[in-house]
């Protein structure tokens, strides 16, 4: 914050500081020094006073000394030549009989950020490492790290590293942890501090002497250690057991993370640890301070990814308090949605309903969306509530409800009839563009079931001139064309007007292009248009997929207790401690890749003549089943990799991208795992089954077996189908530590 007349201020301060009268009066002198620091805090550049401040450092008053040191550390990099003048005083202080003075001087000397400092500080640091006062040793140990950060590219000094490793046995707990921190920074390029068996055991034994910050950090360092045997592992776990219930949330969570990591081969131990930690986690969610509550909620969400039932009985703890900040309310609602079951659904819905009328429109909309999520399982009750909300006639609520309807119809097609009836009866329409788009989509997609649809749409077409959002216009175009296909008589006239306006008068290029596209399509005839415009409707079998999967703990334990769960995780760099440990799983997947591509290469002829697949109209379950039973298996192949572990809807979306429709998956980790998929090629329908872990099928324990059937038979396409087992790796970069890797055929 630059001040007006800042030069004046500096000049005045300099005059005062160099005034012998002021210098003689200690109190006044100190007051001026305080003033300098105050200006420095406010962002005023007072570096011009460096000389005067150096003079002030020669004093017996420790407080004054501290202030001057603070000043010098801030500006030393700007005035390196002047800072050298202060070094003599500092070095003298490093030999003071008072350990506090020694520590203070050493700490500040190390804080000077200027080149060439190393030669002055090396000797005092080495002396400090052997000081008899632990206060000085603490400072000296971190001083090593500071010295290294001054010259990051120089060779690492072996003697200092050895000395630091030796100091891990220091009686003072803070010295021990500081050693770990310093070594971690110095050895960063070599992968950080090495935690071998003696060090790990030593640290474990010292755990209870440490303060909570140190405990938390040591637990993170211990993630690097791999016990040799199960006996050792369980010894470590029982040593750490008490820390699962530590009074500090961060220690409890750090311990949990270490448990999950160490016991990755023992799922029962992991589950037990999660169960035991659920109490402290819940306590954190109810903590007095809201920030901690927020952190607690985020971690609960992560735990629920693997153990959805763990907090089921405590659902009331996630009801929102009126005065809580919205970031907490959002999280709580997300958790409530996950916790719904047959017993509590009524209460949870009642609770969510009361949030729908919240003063904050964002919160209200989130609550409505939450009800929409629950509606995928308990449609009837939720639809009642949502319909009731429309009656409130408030813009933001109406809009959110319509958007929720759209999502609901897509995910849960059996509710279409009820939704259409409600939408048809709803008189007032949403005002914001998101809501308009949702309504138009519903009208276009299910226009045949909403009797008033053409009239509502006509209203939009008439008001087109005042519409600002081009997204709404595009949606309107698509909806009008779809509606024309199912109710031509009522729509023809208005579609004509719409196309005319969009082509002739519209200034937005995208809208105009879309309109032209539809116009030319319609010129080719209705049937052609229908083929293009009516994409796949949502598949009723999708409802099978909506149930939340229980993810394996390994999916998230690497980000647990970092910034990851608290959103914004994509921006923060990965912790060094976990990076090494997390890599193998991805690498293992990478190693598998060549194998599967080999399959492609073995039939190079086919690869050249790329067969074209298309989605076509969806098959019903019955037809699929009938065909599957009738047809002979034409091809069976063992693929060299296990089943994809992504969430079903992601998988389904990815398959659709490569033009393969999904009929059904078996949920979760059930064995055998099966999936039925189908696709169309030139005049032939291809059906396939993916299978893993079936006792009868040989070779299916570890990897997937694919069986293919076809009608009518077309050998070329069949050979092409599995050989298309091109490997698509979809890495979801929004969660940067988690690499979902999966394979699509």
């Amino acid at each position: 914050m630059p001040y007006l007349g800042s030069e004046e201020v500096v000049k005045e301060l300099r005059r005062a500081l160099s005034n012998p009268n002021v210098q003689a009066d200690r109190l006044r002198y100190k007051n001026y020094i305080t003033k300098v620091i105050r200006y420095m805090t406010q962002g005023l550049d007072v570096s011009a006073l460096f000389m005067d401040m150096v003079k002030a450092s020669a004093t017996v008053d420790i407080v004054q000394k501290k202030l001057v040191y603070l000043y010098m550390c801030t500006y030393a990099s700007d005035k390196p030549d002047l800072a050298l003048l202060a070094i003599n005083t500092l070095r003298k202080d490093c030999a003071d009989p008072n350990p506090m003075v020694r520590g203070l001087a050493l700490r500040n000397m190390c804080n000077f950020r200027m080149p060439g400092m190393t030669e002055y500080i090396e000797q005092p640091i080495v002396a400090g490492l052997r000081d008899k006062a632990s206060y000085v040793r603490r400072v000296a140990v971190l001083g090593c790290a500071k010295m290294h950060s001054l010259q990051p590219n120089t060779e690492i000094d072996g003697t200092i590293v050895n000395e630091l490793y030796a100091l891990l046995r220091d009686p003072d707990p803070v010295v021990v942890v500081n050693c770990l921190r310093a070594l971690e920074e110095i050895l960063k390029d070599e992968g950080g501090v090495v935690i071998n068996k003696p060090i790990a055991h030593h640290l474990l034994n010292r755990m209870k002497d440490l303060d909570s910050w140190a405990q938390s950090e040591v637990l993170t360092f211990l993630l690097r250690y791999r016990p040799r045997s199960d006996d050792e592992l369980f010894d470590i776990l029982s040593l750490l057991d008490a820390f699962l219930l530590s009074s500090h949330a961060h220690v409890a969570v750090a311990t949990l993370r270490l448990f999950l990591h160490l016991a990755s081969a023992h799922p029962t131990v992991q589950a037990d640890a999660l169960l035991r930690t659920s109490a402290p986690l819940l306590a954190t969610c109810g903590a007095a301070s809201r920030e901690l509550r927020f952190a607690g909620l985020c971690h609960v969400q992560q735990v629920m990814r693997s153990q959805p039932g763990l907090f089921g009985t405590h659902y009331k703890r996630f009801f929102c308090g009126y005065s809580e900040p919205s970031y907490i309310k959002f999280r709580k609602m997300e958790i409530l949605v996950e916790l719904v079951n047959d017993e509590n659904v009524a209460l949870v819905l009642e609770e969510l309903r009361s949030y729908c009328t919240d003063v904050s429109p964002e919160l209200a909309q989130a609550a409505i969306a939450a009800i929409g999520r629950i509606a995928r399982t308990y449609s009837e009750k939720c639809l009642d509530i949502l319909t009731g909300l429309l009656g409130l006639k408030q813009d933001h609520i109406t809009s959110a409800v319509i958007q929720t309807f759209r999502d609901l119809v897509w995910f849960c097609p059996q509710s279409t009839a009820a939704v259409c009836q409600t939408v048809g009866a709803c008189v007032d329409s949403p005002q914001d563009s998101e809501g308009k788009q949702a309504l138009l989509w519903l009208l276009g997609e299910h226009g045949d079931q909403i009797s008033s649809a053409p009239y509502v749409m006509e209203g939009y077409i008439d008001g087109l001139k005042t519409e600002l959002s081009s997204a709404v216009k595009m949606e309107l175009l698509t909806a009008a064309v779809k509606m024309f296909l199912c109710r031509p008589a009522e729509t023809q006239d208005m579609l004509g007007r719409l196309l005319h306006y969009c082509i002739e008068e519209e200034s937005d290029v995208c809208v105009r292009d879309r309109a032209l596209l539809y116009y030319r399509l319609l010129q080719r005839g209705v049937e052609e248009t229908r083929k293009v415009v009516t994409g796949p409707k949502s598949d009723p079998s999708m409802s099978v997929l909506t149930g939340r999967q229980e993810e394996p703990i390994s999916e998230w334990d690497s980000t647990f207790n970092t910034l990851g769960p608290l959103a914004g995780c994509d921006l923060c760099p990965q912790t060094a401690a976990t990076s090494a440990a997390d890599q193998p799983s991805c690498r293992a997947e990478n190693e598998l890749l060549p194998e599967s591509t080999d399959v492609t290469l073995s039939s190079p002829d086919d690869a050249e003549e790329e067969i074209s697949l298309s989605l076509g109209p969806p098959l019903s379950h019955e037809t699929f089943e009938k065909m599957w039973l009738d047809l002979e298996t034409l091809h069976r192949q063992t693929l060299g990799f296990p089943r994809p572990r992504a969430a079903p809807d992601t998988l389904q979306a990815a398959l659709q991208l490569v033009k393969i429709q999904t009929l059904a998956f078996t949920p979760g980790d059930t064995v055998p795992w099966k999936a039925y998929i189908y696709t169309r090629s030139t005049e032939t329908l291809i059906l396939a089954e993916l299978l893993q872990g079936d006792q009868q099928a040989p070779g299916s324990d570890e990897s997937l077996v694919v069986s293919v059937k076809q009608q009518p038979v077309n050998q070329h396409a069949i050979r092409g189908f599995p050989s298309r087992s091109v490997v698509y790796r979809v890495c979801f970069s929004q969660v940067n530590q988690t690499n979902y890797t999966f394979v699509v055929f």
């Binding site: 914050m1 620091i37 420790i62 506090m100 057991d241 306590a283 009126y322 408030q394 970092t562 959103a567």
Partner: protein, 441 residues
């Protein structure tokens, strides 16, 4: 680790800025102000990410404390660290306010220097810090030989939280059971959620290295003893309304000094306490909570321009006890034009700026009830928005523990010095306060 710590006032002016690491530039101070303090919308999250730098903030009254880091750190730890920082500052100069921070800014810089080094927490126990930084720092040059040796012994001692050679003429200890009771009640009087979060705070002024043993009416312990045939000497409760003998604690956590292994095996709480004030344990209960007050709201809409509100509060504890500082906050719609209030007890006032009727009662005995009725006149509006009816909230303080927790004993043993358990003067106090105590209407 923490790269820097900043303190701002409500306008976003920097009061304190301390940078610990090179990767945090001086512009970080401004980045937080512009993006968070001066941001137009509400605070989205207590963690803000700006240009690969994470800002963790905590607000105390109208002061913002922000910790900055470039590393992927343990968020809970940073927040707890900021709270600890607030505690330390409070211990030194009282309430955290702009004025106090400005007056003590030298002291705060000193503290920041000791608490963190290179961004790593070093020493955050107030008791231990006081040996390094004396109040206001003015006297710190006259360190006596004795104090110097104390520093060395304190930091090399086996027990990090207590220094050796403490002597008091009068061995005394104070136990405060501080509870905050939280409630969310439906208009029909159904408890939607209720829990008590409590703390046992101990002030110990004991000589030497005393070994303490703390006992309370924990259900698990009592049941165990009941089986053993010993009679429970804690007797009938003299506090609270119900006469229950033991309570079920959902979860509890302890100060570092408590031997957790012993707690796990025999459920006994034994420890060597730090000197001075500290928090011995934190716990939470959800079962059989004594709700000190019941709020019964009645809201009637008379036409479009009038509301009639009647609220009855009933105290539900022993008649001999007195609740204090009772405050009931009844929210009113935004378009309120005038309010007439009649209350039997205390004072009630309509506060237009807060959109609420605030009803204050200084004292109220147990098993009593009191009532307020108000007529709220509304301005006719064409705003179709329905009034969201925020809940009626309540504040109070009662001299018992709503969870039912009772201290049964606290025994002190110091074998090396010649004072026994009987010589120690012990004080116990129970305070139950309202946390978020809301009734929907």
């Amino acid at each position: 680790m923490i790269g820097g710590l900043f303190i701002y006032n409500h306008k976003g002016e920097v009061l304190i800025s301390r940078v610990y690491r090179d990767d945090i530039g001086r512009n970080a101070v401004d980045a937080f102000r512009v993006n968070v303090i001066h941001a137009r919308q509400q605070v989205r999250s207590p963690v803000t990410n700006i240009a690969r730098t994470s800002f963790f903030h905590v607000k105390r009254s109208n002061i913002w404390l922000a910790a900055v880091t470039k590393q992927n750190v343990n968020a809970a730890m940073v927040f707890e660290f900021l709270y600890k920082m607030c505690d330390v500052m409070t211990a030194y100069f009282g309430k955290i306010s702009e004025e106090n921070i400005k007056n003590n800014f030298v002291l705060i810089y000193e503290l920041l220097d000791e608490i963190l080094d290179f961004g790593y927490p070093q020493n955050s126990e107030t008791g231990a810090l006081k040996t390094f930084i004396t109040q206001q720092g003015i006297k710190s040059q006259h360190h006596t030989k004795e104090e110097q040796s104390q520093i060395t012994s304190q930091v090399t001692g086996q027990i990090g939280w207590r220094r050796e050679g403490i002597k008091y003429r009068r061995n005394e200890l104070f136990l405060d059971v501080l509870e905050s009771v939280n409630l969310l009640m439906s208009p029909q009087g159904q408890v939607l959620s209720a829990h008590v979060s409590g703390r046992v705070v101990m002030k110990s002024y004991l000589s030497g290295m005393p070994e303490c043993k703390f006992g309370m009416n924990d259900k698990i312990v009592i049941d165990k003893q009941g089986k053993g045939g010993t009679t429970d000497d804690s007797g009938k409760s003299e506090l609270g309304g119900s006469g229950k003998q033991s309570i079920a604690i959902d979860d509890c956590t302890f100060h570092q000094c408590v031997r957790l292994s012993k707690f796990d095996s025999e459920r006994s709480i034994s420890f060597i306490p730090p000197d001075g004030e500290y928090e011995l344990m934190r716990y939470r209960t959800t079962k059989d909570i004594i709700l000190p007050f019941r709020v019964i709201p009645l809201v009637r809409e008379v036409g479009r321009t009038k509301l009639e509100v009647k609220v009855v509060i009933k105290s539900n504890f022993k008649p001999s006890l007195l609740a204090q500082k009772i405050e009931v906050r009844i929210p009113t719609p935004l378009n309120t034009s005038g309010v007439q209030v009649i209350c039997m007890k205390g004072k009630a006032k309509y506060k237009a700026s807060e959109n609420a009727i605030v009803w204050k009662i200084k004292r109220m005995a147990g098993m009593k009830e009191s009532q307020i009725s108000a007529e709220i006149e509304l301005l006719p509006t064409n705003d179709k928005k329905k009034w969201a009816r925020p809940p009626i909230s309540m504040n109070f303080e009662v001299p018992f523990a709503p969870s039912g927790l009772k201290v049964r004993y606290l025994k002190v043993f110091e074998p090396k010095l010649n004072y026994s358990d009987h010589d120690v003067i012990k004080w116990v106090r129970y305070i139950g306060r309202s946390g978020i105590y809301e009734t929907r209407c």
